[in-house]
């Protein structure tokens, strides 16, 4: 994954990111649950054959996958609950296959029962792991999983998994996907909604999928049934955007319910979402005695609001370690600011809360803000806990909002991480709220520029270069730089500069500095042997030793959108004076292509007996939809052809 989301507010979509972890645990078990000699029903074998034809890479598939959601009122507890029943019929598509079924739960989602049986209805032996599961970057979460490892006797082997679960609070039932970990011949999702229940089902990304929707009324309940046939497994391609952008799913909006004539709001609109968030924020406390001295120390002598903001923001960035907790309400409620300051660690909510309290003490109008990173495709007109996964601090500076995300360790003030750009942000505003948008960072701020003066020497191409790096590209290098050992630091800069060349070809002539505010500037000289080739009187020369985006074509069998870690703006300008004893006999043809997603310009020109090389590669958007793959690949093919081509000079007679 290019994107490494580091802060989540909740674990609501139990998407199988955790497969490897669970499998590792099972690999530790010595026993292998192979069932010898079990019979296979002819119809299952035939179905397995058919599914194998359709999904040839799969070892296991679902014959049927049904889940039904019932909304019920718990008289005893005087609250609404949602009960779910899942039934999955698995078939082994080949001999010697096995599978791990994962059943997720947390404080507000309980497993009532489960069973795992063969086609005769007999319980099959299986390994079981139950416990917390960890995801990248999460220190502790109350999300738990029970995972059951079972095998299939042979092709057509049949296992049926059933489970009943209860959502203790309906707002925790948020998004439901049609895809599973394996392909399914039939997928059905049923909602039984009593007339006293106010529920809306949002159909997301249904276009392009043959999803059938049926509405019935049975026993005063609206029964909504979605079905789809022959659906593939969750994609496992690299560099995927968040799945909410492109996979079909249903968002369950539990708005409220009526009981004994009284309407109770659950999450009916953005305001009720905000009010719930706010109720949690209101539970936090602040201890100025702890925070005040640090604030005074940081802003001492600073006069402008911007200076103060920057000082406090950078201090939190650099001194509070990101450690994520997701437990119970703590998954939504920020830690008290003074506790974060004392601990010097916190999750995104804690860091946002500390930033806010410190800025307020410094006299600024700072507020907490909720945001969904670009992993999520939603906006705040959807009143759901699924809509956001992150918290930051926003500052009202005379009506202009500046957003501060202290979890972004190496980000400069007033610049926004790629994952936040263009996203809506829900800002606290007393009893009401504001929705703003994080500005997109202009492509110029991503500039990576290399200016080179070349000269042709005796069998070598020599050069002097100045290279500057900005934006997320530079930020990534700051992260990497911090991980390397001291003896490798200078080599690190050379390896950034060298591109396709060996580091020995580079001699740095400046002392590069990596800071979050300034561009990284590398000054160096180059002596390149492999960039030119002489054949008789002709000399073939390649000036570009960076060749960004070379071989960046999307594989032809890719089925899902592509996500770039960040936008790109690579520029390369080179000048090569033509030696007096040589003449140019070939310059590569220029390339100029532009679309809404990218702009590529590459050209050689002859000016005053010097070759001027100019190359600009701009990737304007991080999300490349499938329908743009052919356009992207065609453009990249031209870039590749340009890169492959070379200058040809001939010794004058």
């Amino acid at each position: 994954m290019l994107i490494n989301l580091r802060c989540y507010l909740s674990v609501l979509v139990c998407y199988a990111l955790n497969t490897r972890q669970v499998l590792t645990v099972f690999m530790l078990l010595t026993g292998f649950l192979f069932s010898y000699g079990q019979k296979v029903k002819e119809e299952h074998l035939a179905a397995a054959e058919e599914l194998k034809e359709m999904f040839e890479d799969s070892e296991v598939a679902l014959l049927t996958n049904e889940s039904t959601y019932y909304f019920r009122f718990d008289e005893k507890k005087q609250q609404t609950k949602v009960f779910s029943k899942e039934r999955k019929e698995y078939l082994g598509l080949q001999f010697n296959s096995s599978f791990v079924e994962r059943n997720y739960f947390h404080q507000n989602l309980k497993i009532s029962s489960y069973s795992l049986k063969n086609y005769r209805g007999k319980t099959i032996p299986h390994d079981e792991f139950c416990g917390h599961y960890t995801r990248n970057g999460i220190f502790h979460s109350d999300a738990e999983v029970c995972a059951y490892h079972f095998s299939f006797p042979s092709k057509g082997g049949y296992r049926v998994f059933e489970t009943s679960k209860t959502f203790l609070d309906p707002k925790y039932l948020t998004t439901l996907y049609f895809h599973s970990n394996v392909p399914a011949a039939s997928r059905k999702m049923v909602f039984r909604i009593p007339e006293w229940m106010d529920v809306e089902l949002l159909e997301m990304n249904f276009e392009g999928y043959d999803i059938n929707k049926k509405l019935d009324v049975v026993d005063k309940e609206t029964v909504v049934t979605f079905t789809i046939e022959n659906i593939e497994a969750f994609p496992d391609e690299s560099n995927l955007p968040g799945i909410s952008h492109f996979l079909p799913h249903v968002i369950v909006l539990t708005k409220g319910y009526e009981h004994d004539g009284i309407y109770t709001d659950v999450l009916s609109n953005t305001n009720s979402l905000y009010q719930w968030y706010k109720s949690l924020v209101d539970q936090t406390s602040s201890n100025p005695l702890v925070i005040q001295p640090k604030v005074e120390e940081l802003v001492k002598g600073l006069t402008s609001d911007e200076q103060k903001m920057k000082a406090i923001y950078y201090w939190v960035q650099e001194n509070i370690k990101y450690i994520a907790f997701e437990e119970g309400l703590a998954a939504f409620k920020p830690e008290d600011a003074h506790r974060v300051l004392e601990n010097k660690y916190g999750d995104c909510k804690g860091m946002a809360n500390l930033t806010k309290d410190m800025l307020k003490m410094a006299g600024l109008d700072a507020r907490l803000s909720w945001i969904g990173t670009n992993q999520l495709a939603y906006t705040y007109d959807i009143p759901s806990l699924a809509v956001d996964n992150h918290m930051i601090c926003s500052v009202n500076l005379d009506g202009r909002y500046i957003h501060l995300d202290a979890t972004e360790k190496n980000h400069p003030f007033d610049e926004y991480a790629e994952r936040l750009q263009g996203k809506q942000v829900l800002i606290e505003n007393g009893d009401s709220y504001l929705v703003k948008e994080i500005p997109e960072t202009p492509i110029d701020r991503y500039l990576h520029k290399t200016n080179v003066t070349f000269s042709l020497g005796d069998g070598t191409l020599q050069a002097e270069a100045i290279e500057t790096l900005n934006g997320e590209l530079k930020k990534g290098f700051i992260d990497a730089y911090q991980s390397i050992t001291p003896d490798r630091k200078r080599l690190f800069f050379k390896s950034i500069a060298s591109g396709d060349l060996k580091t020995e070809a580079i001699a740095l002539t400046n002392q590069p500095e990596l800071t979050k505010e300034n561009p990284l500037t590398l000054e160096y000289t180059l002596a390149m042997n492999d960039q030119l080739n002489s054949f008789g009187e002709e000399t073939y020369v390649t000036l570009d030793y960076k060749k960004e985006l070379a071989n960046y074509q999307v594989p032809s069998d890719r089925k899902h959108p592509l996500n770039f870690a960040y936008k790109m703006n690579h520029q390369f300008n080179g000048t090569l004076p033509v030696p007096s004893h040589m003449e140019i006999i070939h310059l590569p043809d220029p390339v100029a292509i532009a679309s809404e997603h990218f702009e590529f310009t590459l050209k050689y020109e002859l000016e005053n007996n010097a070759i001027r090389y100019q190359r600009e590669l701009k990737v304007l958007d991080t999300y490349l939809p499938v329908e743009k793959f052919s356009e992207w690949n065609a453009a990249l093919d031209l870039v590749q052809e340009f890169y492959d081509d070379q200058l040809i000079l001939r010794t004058s007679k």
Binding site: T134, I323, N533, D645
Partner: protein, 726 residues
């Protein structure tokens, strides 16, 4: 460090805890804290670090590993405690990241073991103030596998800043109920004295009491252990003190256990009565044992060999029966060979298809000492002169540093015919006449197994090193060029002898690759699954069809990946994969396969011409990085080896070739060589390349010689030729 973590993993892996918690016994927790913190040595009170390490990410000011092994009199309990104590100065944010979260297993019990875990964390600020971190904040990470609890406890260390010192310990106290047994062996441990950060002072200490035996050795310049006895407390404490260790680096062609100061040890408890009958190189209880005598090894081999007679072995039974047909064979060399291949058949082929089709998968594990023993006893019964070779893998230790029985590796040598023949691999692809790469060039013990065991005497010998010609990979690579598409079509054949086979056989062969050749030789019945009933047979046959279908696809996918990696290209299509020879017999030692592949990349259109990156048409070459130019350690390679390439590229019609003369390179010296020559022949570019590594080891002084040919090969890989439009 790595091994000790493995130990921790081992504990987590095999234990399940009935109760949970860290520092569960407050009295003991206080005692440990008192001992490790209040009564810490001066090393654990230091706050300053040497100037030379100021740029490091962190510096380990002090590190201590204290282990104790004791047996109470009368009661059947064995106690094993381990106290790990670190004091680390954090100099960067990255170090803070590394030391701000800890995970400790929970106290509990499993079968006859009881574990108690204790931990303490404190932070020393730059101004000298110390703050002990409360463990109340520890978070339980639940984990339960098949009703066994494997919980761990996590803690985040608050208020960490650059310049802080983290001083922490994790203690594990184990009680082992050994009722009903009179000995117990602890897992062997290897400590490398270098860590991920430089170390100012470190100490490893052992308390060994009552009937505990300890085998221990300091290696590669690691300091020796000193005995510090406390007779009043009945303690024999052995202490190693070390200081000023630089950080561990990751280096190409390196055997850490042969170069980095290291300590290896193992502890065994045995009652007086049991000690005499245990064959694990035991010394005197409570005293360090750092060497193993030849007679101990002989006794150990006798024990191993005798114990094999009590193991019921279907393979031995079938082998003995099958060998009866060779009763009259008088050529001992021939007989030795026949016996090896017959035994290999019974171990790896005879009934393996049942196992595979019953879901056990393809298993090509080495058969181990039992195979050697059966073969050796048969050889002796037929008067075949042979030796048992007893050595230690070269990446582990030298023979003089042997202290543990599980360091040993065995091979056979048949002394019939014109020259001795080694047998040292026992897997399905092993053949008669191979010398284990791990023993080559090492000193080993040789034991004449043709004689009676009471006559056994160990002799030391140096094992030969394979010639680079023995381990050879030959490639015939025929390319044609599709100018319009800018692509290359490759028709390739690869033939590998020696050690290089293992990798390719692993990914490109399975049971069915050699089933026919084995059945043809060693099996008389034609029928499939003769021992199964009709229905089971039908089921097996069905599964076989499935397996056969799936494996072809798998092999081509594997090969596509391998070829793509070797040539550094994206293979568009790979087809026609065929194993031409399995390389499983000494008279046909080449593993040979062929395939076709299409790909783009090395052909670049320049104006109206093409540049062909001809150096990219053979396997990728090693590109030494700038920091590899100097070498501090000796060079340990897996084996001597060579690579031969015959590349043929058809020149497209209408084009001429220029630049071939640049492809003629020749660098050769005592450490190896690279040679390439190119010429035109009948409308084809022909390139012949040879690269060899003369030995499996070179002293560091030879690094410049190695660099010379490695750089020549790398230079070749960057060569291009011009296909000029006529």
């Amino acid at each position: 460090m790595r091994i000790s973590l493995l130990l921790l993993f081992f504990i987590i892996r095999f234990t399940a805890f009935a109760t949970n918690g860290v520092n569960k016994d407050p009295r003991r927790a206080a005692e440990i804290r008192e001992e490790l913190w209040a009564r810490a040595t001066d090393n654990f009170r230091v706050t300053e670090i040497p100037q030379k390490w100021e740029d490091e990410s962190a510096v380990i000011i002090a590190k201590s590993n204290r282990l104790s092994y004791k047996k109470e009199a009368i009661v059947a309990f064995l106690y094993h405690d381990r106290y790990i104590h670190y004091r680390v100065k954090l100099l960067t944010q990255k170090a803070i990241e590394a030391y701000s979260e800890f995970s400790v297993p929970g106290t509990g019990s499993y079968r006859n073991l009881e574990y108690k875990y204790y931990a303490g964390f404190k932070v020393i600020k730059a101004d000298g103030t110390e703050r002990i971190i409360s463990l109340d904040q520890m978070i339980k990470e639940k984990a339960e596998v098949n009703n066994s609890r494997l919980d761990t406890y996590k803690i985040a260390i608050p208020d960490l800043e650059v310049g802080d010192i983290v001083d922490y310990y994790i203690a594990e106290e184990q009680t082992i109920n050994i009722a009903g047994t009179n000995f117990y062996t602890f897992d062997p441990i290897i400590f490398e004295l270098s860590d991920d950060y430089p170390i100012m002072k470190q100490e490893i200490a052992f308390d060994v009491l009552r009937r505990c035996y300890i085998n221990l050795k300091s290696l590669n310049g690691a300091p020796s252990f000193q005995l510090v006895s406390d007779e009043d407390a009945d303690i024999n404490r052995y202490v190693l003190v070390d200081e000023d260790r630089e950080r561990l680096k990751n280096i190409r062609w390196m055997h850490n256990y042969r170069e980095i100061p290291t300590v290896k040890f193992k502890v065994t408890y045995a009652s007086k009565r049991a000690a005499g009958s245990i064959h694990a190189f035991l010394g005197t209880p409570g005293l360090l044992k750092s060497s193993v005598s030849e007679s101990e090894i002989t006794e150990f081999i006798k024990f191993l060999s005798n114990s094999m007679d009590y193991v019921i072995s279907g393979e031995r039974f079938l082998f003995t029966k099958a060998m009866k047909q060779y009763k009259k064979e008088s050529n001992k060399e021939k007989l030795a060979r026949i016996a090896f291949y017959n035994l290999r058949y019974f171990y790896h082929v005879n009934s393996k298809e049942y196992d595979m089709l019953n879901g056990k998968g393809y298993n090509n594990q080495s058969a181990g000492f039992q195979f050697i023993d059966i073969l050796s006893k048969y050889y002796r019964s037929r008067g075949i002169s042979h030796d048992l070779i007893i050595g230690i893998p070269k990446d582990i230790s030298s023979l003089d540093d042997l202290i543990l029985e599980n360091e040993l590796k065995y091979a056979l040598r048949v002394n019939e015919g014109q020259k001795p023949t080694y047998i040292s691999y026992f897997d399905a692809n092993a053949f008669y006449g191979e010398l284990d790469k791990d023993l080559q060039g090492t000193t080993v013990y040789v034991l004449n197994k043709s004689s009676s065991s009471y006559e056994w005497v160990l002799k030391k010998e140096e094992m030969p090193i394979d010639s680079y010609k023995t381990n050879q990979t030959k490639n015939w690579l025929n390319y044609s060029i599709d100018v319009a598409e800018g692509s290359l079509q490759l028709k390739a054949k690869k033939s590998i002898t020696g050690e290089g086979q293992t990798y390719f056989q692993r990914y490109l062969t399975d049971f069915y690759t050699y089933k026919k050749e084995e059945f043809d030789k060693y099996r008389s019945e034609e029928e499939d699954f003769p021992d199964s009933k009709k229905k089971a047979k039908e089921r097996y046959l069905k599964r076989r069809v499935e397996v056969l279908k799936e494996r072809e696809k798998r092999f081509e996918e594997n090969l596509k990946y391998i070829v793509g990696q070797d040539l550094s290209v994206e293979i568009d299509e790979l087809s026609d994969f065929k194993v031409e020879q399995t390389g499983r017999f000494d008279d046909q030692p080449e593993f040979t396969f062929s395939y076709k592949a299409d790909f783009k990349g090395p052909l670049k259109k320049v104006g109206g011409n093409y540049l062909l990156e001809i150096g990219q048409l053979i396997d990728g070459q090693i590109e030494l990085s700038e920091e590899e130019q100097e070498r501090e350690y000796n060079i340990y390679m897996p084996y001597a080896r060579s690579f031969v390439y015959e590349v043929k590229v058809k020149v497209p019609d209408g084009y001429t070739v220029q630049g071939l003369e640049k492809l003629n390179l020749d660098v050769s010296n005592e450490t190896g060589g690279f040679r390439s020559e190119a010429f035109l022949e009948e409308g084809h570019i022909k390139v012949l390349c040879k690269k060899h590594y003369a030995s499996n080891y070179e002293p560091k002084e030879n690094w410049d010689l190695m660099k010379a040919f490695l750089n020549a090969a790398d230079e070749f890989s960057n060569k291009q030729v011009l296909l000029k439009k006529q």
